[in-house]
Subunit: 418 residues, 2 copies
């Protein structure tokens, strides 16, 4: 059950080395590079035990996936998609803004979507139609023209439906490192993409890291985590429920309860003891709880510092005044404020994205959002008045750097003699 933890060592233990898989992943990449589609069929047989007829999921197959799926779940996916779209629309920036910073000098930024991206949705221990929404919706909202998606064969019907609801243009039955290689390098069936997003196991993550020269990625992501900041006002039943929800994801998932109140930690552990054993996923939960623990903080400021060191993928704030804690937090993938905001809401339906950096990467990376699918160009528009105003700086700094033709390009406009 939860043990007392040290924040520092916890983070270093979360970074799983990709070295163990780098040799097989390199082989997979080379096979896909050299043999294209035929390597994908080979791996479907080898890893997924399936003799595929076609890696591409046809329109007819998408339509039958709708028929096969529970109609009520399809409705829920449509509703979830609408909520996720709504929040991601709020993130969009104007296509072009321009500002006259001084007479004759107009500066601005133009934002344009990427042209073609790839979503990866794992099969693995469960099927994840929610992840199909989370990876594809921000790309569609950003305005990406071609969204391609891969998921391991045979392809879960609800996942295929979710891709379709999200607006994916092409769906392929390809899993693992071979899916990443196919989207990054291209095959006969799959055109290469500019960026690949979505979670996966260490093979998928290693392939994403190795192929960044070909296709940019969102960020490295590993097993799921929760950090909770709680004071003595927190409800131990809620804390335990959120910990169990995180723990059931994967044996390598981890949970850290940071609390100013030892009694709250003890009551939460008692609650976990009572409930962990009755879950249908209890083996996974018990394994994940081995990676988990609690930390007693001196006060809430200390709790935030500890949490910032850990930079949890999900941070739940269950204290009397959660806004004051929110204001101090620096490092977290997604933040859940108050007792009635279980992480599960963000996983499915509040509208925020659940593709988030883990293992301390939230110190550097943002969770998946619309800006992952856009790039910006700066813009400047200068007239003779503006050019005259800055000509001295440009000419002199250019000459100081030995770039005389730079200086001349200004002189030529103003017909200045050297």
């Amino acid at each position: 059950m939860l043990k007392e933890l040290d924040a520092d060592s916890w983070v270093s233990e979360r970074r799983s080395s990709l070295d163990d898989v780098s040799a097989p992943v390199r082989d997979i990449i080379e096979n896909v590079r050299n043999n294209g589609d035929s390597a994908l069929y080979e791996y479907a047989k080898k890893f997924d035990k399936i003799d595929l007829e076609d890696i591409c999921v046809s329109r007819e197959e998408i339509d039958s996936a709708y028929e096969e799926a529970d109609g009520r779940l399809v409705e829920f996916l449509i509703e979830a998609e609408a909520r996720i779209s709504e929040f991601h629309e709020l993130q969009k920036r104007e296509d072009l803004w321009l500002r006259e910073v001084q007479p004759g000098i107009v500066l601005g930024v133009k934002t344009t979507p990427l042209e073609r991206i790839g979503c990866y949705v794992p099969g693995g221990r469960a099927s994840y139609p929610s992840t199909a929404l989370m990876t594809a919706v921000p790309a569609r909202v950003a305005g990406v023209s071609e969204i391609c998606a891969c998921t391991p064969p045979p392809g879960n019907p609800l996942t295929i439906v979710a891709f379709d609801i999200a607006g994916v243009d092409e769906i392929y039955r390809v899993g693992g490192a071979q899916a990443i290689a196919a989207m990054a390098l291209g095959t006969e069936s799959i055109k290469p993409v500019q960026k690949i997003v979505g979670p996966g196991n260490t093979f998928v993550t290693a392939a994403k890291m190795m192929l960044r020269d070909y296709a940019e990625i969102d960020f490295p992501a590993g097993p799921s985590e929760i950090g909770i900041i709680a004071d003595d006002s927190a409800v131990p039943e809620f804390l335990a429920a959120d910990i169990l929800a995180q723990a059931e994801h994967d044996p390598n998932s981890a949970c850290v309860l940071i609390t100013t109140d030892r009694g709250t930690a003890e009551a939460t552990i008692a609650e976990l003891k009572a409930k962990a054993g009755i879950s249908p996923r209890k083996e996974i939960i018990f394994a994940a709880l081995e990676n988990s623990g609690y930390i007693i903080a001196d006060d809430l400021a200390d709790a935030v510092s500890l949490s910032d060191m850990i930079a949890p993928e999900h941070l739940s704030i269950q204290v009397r005044d959660p806004m004051s804690v929110l204001n101090r937090v620096r490092n977290a993938g997604s933040i859940f404020v108050g007792p009635n905001t279980p992480v599960a809401c963000g996983d499915y339906a509040s509208g925020t994205n659940h593709v988030l950096p883990t293992a301390g990467y939230a110190r550097v990376y943002s969770g998946l959002n619309v800006s992952h699918f856009c790039k910006t160009s700066t813009v400047q528009m200068i007239d003779r008045e503006g050019l005259t105003e800055i000509s001295d700086i440009v000419i002199n700094l250019a000459e100081a750097e030995g770039l005389h033709a730079h200086a001349d390009s200004v002189r030529e406009r103003l017909k200045l003699r050297k």
Copy 2:
């Protein structure tokens, strides 16, 4: 002199392979990893022919760099810094925005700066104090607490002054791949950074790409480029001046003139013939013009399509109605609109950043900006009303994915029975 070009083949030729340098760069990285500072002193001696006493530039040395530098140039750097700061301040997003998307469901985004970043400024063929400003100012504007900078020994005084003006906290005399390794991995003197930005030669770029697991980077950047879209209203003298300014950077620089008017191309070539030979950097210019050329476009729409294929680092628009061309452009690092906006202005003083993606990478990457030094956390705050509203979706999708404890974490709040 400029030859007629094909846009497609041009792009593939711009991506210089990093394979040639990967073995020596790997050795440098391992040496820095294993031997820390002593490897840095060793390389200063070997590559820069300098017996360094200290890799760290002291406050006293910064002060004497100010004294050594031309006072007028220091004033110009201060003025350029103010303009760059002003434009980058306009890019900042609010620290936290929250929106009630429906009763009881508040969503938002919290933006926080990175904690520690590294700037690299090359020495090479020229000294680049302007690049010191361009790399450090966006980080300072973003609110980064610790900005560290490396530049090859002995360290150009004006570059050191520029780092100081920009608000850099630590300056080190380290160049090349070893500087990237030191900032990514850390040594006795240099604490590791979260992200490394700034241009460099193939050694520097290869090291940045190899060390992305340790420190994120801005983007791969190679030799400088200009694309120009011109119609028959363009002034050939201005076109030639901008081409020469680009060509003087590096023998591998490249310039592409895309014009709807063959006469404009011919007049520009005549102008280049007249002027290229009288430049003090003529060897570099002639070499760069070998990589350069012109394309005759059917019309301006075709010109924009060709330019988008090339995705030039700098795009100059010199046509009758430049705004209509600007509105169509998708792929370019920085866009210079109209006849009186030479690229040189953006290199030094308009306020936009000159650290930009090259070799077609502008299709995927943004030029350096404030968001490179920030990350975001999504925020959600739900009350019982909001939770009740979305509980059906969350519970049902969670159960469909086999994640029962996720469903329970909602039920527990609402005290719903299964």
